[in-house]
Amino acid sequence: MNHLLSWIIWLPVIGIVAVVIIPRDKGTLIKQVSAVVTGVQLALTIYLWRIYDGSNGTFQFMESAEWIPSFNISYMLGVDGLSLPMVFLMALLGFLGVFVSWNINKAVKGYFALFLLLNTGIMGVFLSLDFFLFYVFWEVMLLPMYFLIGMWGGPQREYAAIKFFLYTLVGSVLMLIAILALYFTCGKTFDMLVLMETAPIALNGVLWWGMSAIKVIWTLLFIGFAIKVPVFPFHTWLPLAHVEAPTAVSVILAGILLKLGIYGILRINYTMLPDGVFWFAGALAVLGLINVIWGAMCALAQTDLKKLVAYSSINHMGYALLGMAAVIAGSSMGGDNLLAAQAGLNGAVFQMFNHGTISAMLFILVGVIYDRAHHRDIDGFGGLAVKMPIYSGIVALAFFAGLGLPGFSGFISEAMCFIGAFPVFRTIVIISTIGILLNAAYFLWAFQRIFFGELNEKYKDLPEINRMELFTVIPLAVITLFLGIYPRPFLDLISETMNILIDQVVSLGGLVNLM
């Protein structure tokens, strides 16, 4: 397997071809084919995980081919400790997503073709090392998402889809400008590896309109990625899109798409604009704080279960932002506190992964109850624990994982983010620990309203969660639990890459004060 990464990216495209060929009326066959394709993809990523050398944090399994040589654009792929967990997560959620979508009966062919295309787009973003390719995949991913929300979504689907699309499009336009700015200032190349070396030097001291070029590019890229994360003022597409999207798409949206933002910031902003990291870290921490508190407060007030989970995503991403900001602790300005930098950055990436599994679990579970009761009003249930003991047990597990209970992976990553950010942003972290409490408050309060108390007579015949649904949730629960008890398999895999990243930021950045 010399082209393992290419296979992982393009396998779903083969699936699309197959799905398109299969006649319209054979819905089950389409679903089976999609399951097989994503299953093979998952197997490949597991294989990739196994043969990836964690002790060497650099890019591995590189592939490179000329694409548009006149603009120095190439087809370049590679995987490191930052992208590998995301690739695995995508493959896993893509595979489970097929089973979550098993109940889809409207335009099955189109749905699964788009679903697979989404898979390819996201995989491509995570694996491409060429900036142009990155951008192309970024846009490829957008389109199926738009249609998936817009065609298979809830009652407000068109509004949600357009909102999502416009929001993200604004982000990608800003990103494109930044990409081009980097291209023209740093030796006309889209090669990320080259840019990582040249950009910090080439941009040093460059002024545009009286402002440092680094600041300009950083801001453009940051807004582009922040919309995806979503960071506080750019977050309102998320609840709507999550609520309106079909379950499997919500799963992908929360599980993977949000990670693209942070992945982009770490992969591009951090490596290419290390000076900007020092300029922006404080703001990043403040935004993290706002995300944590704002998201939690909004979640507390929700009566729609899915919206609650959506706001919890905003809340959880705040922790990752805090952890990311901690990287400056590693520099001489931050007190040479390498411990904090490592804890923060690893925590942020771990948090990304954990939020991927946990929120996916939450969305699947919300989907389960929605399928049965046809509404998601938290106050409209009551006492379901009597009727659905297994379901309530799993929801309890997911909620506890979501509120950062030790024993679940979310706890470790949140704790690491906090511990990492603490030395540099003491006050901010102390305030944001309130988030831990609010986190527990909204989850437990919702849990109590849905499952405790007297059984609502309307739902005395509600069927228990079925096998197919259990099958989609259990792998996620097992991963969450396993990594919560023993996180080393994950952290050993990423830590070397994070060390390289810290080194890049610390050694190249923060040396000059930006204008």
């Binding site: 007030a301 059984l455 080393r488 830590s495």
Partner: protein, 684 residues
Amino acid sequence: MITGNIITDFCLLILFLPVVAFAINIFIGKRLPRQGDWVSVGAILITLVLSLSMLMNMFMNWDPNFSHEVQFSWIDLGAFKIELGFWVDNITIVMLVVVALISSMTHIFSLEYMKGDIRYSRYYAYLGLFTFSMNGIVLANNLISMYIFWELVGVSSYLLIGHWFEKNSAANAATKAFLTNRVGDIGFFIGIMLMFTAIGSFNFQDLFSGISQGMISGQLLTLAGVGIFLGAVGKSAQFPLHIWLPDAMEGPTPVSALMHAATMVAAGVYLTVRLFPLFSPEALLIIAYVGGFTALFAATIAVTQNDIKKVLAYSTVSQLGYMILAVGVGNYVAAFFHLLTHAMFKACLFFGSGSVIHAMHHSLHELNDQDTDPQDMRNMGGFKSKLPITYWTMTIATLTIAGVPFFSGFLSKDAILAGTLAFAKHYPQHFLLPLFGFGAAAITAFYMFRLIFMTFHGEVKMPKVFKGIHESPRAMTFPLILLSSLGFFIFYTLPYFNPFSDHGWFTELIQASDSVVKGNPTAEEIYEGIHHAHYPAMALSLLVASFGIGMSILMYMKKKLSADIWAAKMGFLYKLSLNKYFFDENYNRFLYQPVLKLSQAIAFVDWDLYDKYFINGFGRVTKWLSFLTGRIDYEGLDQKLVDGVGRTAQGFGNQLKNVQTGRLQNYMLFALAGVIVIIVMQTI
């Protein structure tokens, strides 16, 4: 003689056997014979045996400095490392025995008490989880594992308190317990972060040595200490986070016994005991005041409660306040001693109350009476004859808690009070602390006997119910007998037999270590102070205890003083106490509701204002702009400018129309003429 690796193995078994039982019961418990209770009971009995063998080993070693530590690398990122592990010393071993003992008693007691419950196997599973979490705290050698199990204790208590979740009150109590604990946990976590940032390790020994090297000191250290203590405030239900504990009585009574004697609430005290060396003098002072105040404050509430379990609940809060107070004045060994004795008698009292409630419940059930509260002491009275075993065991436990000589409570309470007295002697400005202590002791004696008298003595209040009361089965009386007998002083003073001195294996094997913070008195100095305060404290405590008991006898047994008249006389105070100083109401009004309102306001701002007007505003502005540009484009540009061009062109066209003959040949001619022109021009 067990050493080294074997101890590690024992600890691993003790830690993980309950959680294995949990896993078995939660997944397949329902399908096992007897719903799998034997799995849990078996597992906990094995841990009890293992703990006891470790205790025996401790006796055989007789080494006050025994210490054993193992750890493994949990997270290793290069520079950032977290190592989890065990730290076993004599305190750990004693605590393990307490946990295993109380937990196994709870398991046995529940066999009868919970018989026929709809979620019987789940109940046993949760008990296992609870025991596991507590053992994790006991064995922890670092702040992170401490915190992990700390939270797990929280979640197990959530599950158990909410066991009967069909009742809204139980569901509320569970959520409240978890959230209140989380408030404390936040402080704990901040403390952990402060410590780690300064010292770079989570390990207790590293922390101690780091602090003694001055890596963290002054205000920061105080802050870290207070933060960690806040965790204990939450778990041990100290003022002002005590509110969850009385509500937690919604859980099954054996759970209350487990929670209040050995696990949950003991965790907070255990934490402060474990980390005593790192508290700065200022932090200790805060601890002392919080503890002392809680002790008195909770006792005053307990006086007026009528629910038998509520009385015990506030009594627990009060007793925990005692322990915290002891830690605060530096006498942390006494605190741990009291934790140990308290575990026995409080478990016994809860089991006793459970036995009473069980009997009441059955009787009411037979009468088909749904309205009478089986926990209300006003419905009881004269049960002495019907429940002899329960009566005697509870009386022994009450004597123990009241601090009557020959019982263990006397010794441990005396040690605490001596510590406070010595402290106040040294720092006369803190004279309040011993006052808290002695005041609470008096009130404790009073309300505990009030409980005994109201329940077991006096006239029968409800004859119908009374008729149906029967002594509980053996599985329930056995723990009562065992635990009440452990209330005798002898078990704590061996190999000595002086009922007025706590000198014994405990004091010999568990010795205070010095604080690592400069400015704190050394263990030696504290010991000296206590030694001098020992006899005055003993005399005083005997005095207040007999005062309390005497008052109680006068009021509730001899009826010489009417409780009602006194209540009326104290009017306002009585009301305050009865309503628990309106804490829940005020928290609700000034904390929960405002937070909820704020959250709704924020959500409204986020969704209905920010998103709808600001974000969508962009869309609207764009739409308006596009409309405007559309207008400009069409009416201005298109109609005037572009069409103007068009009209001009039309004019020309009209002129040129004559050229357009429509004859192909004409066109060709013109084309050729053009060709000629080109040729000519080329040539020129």
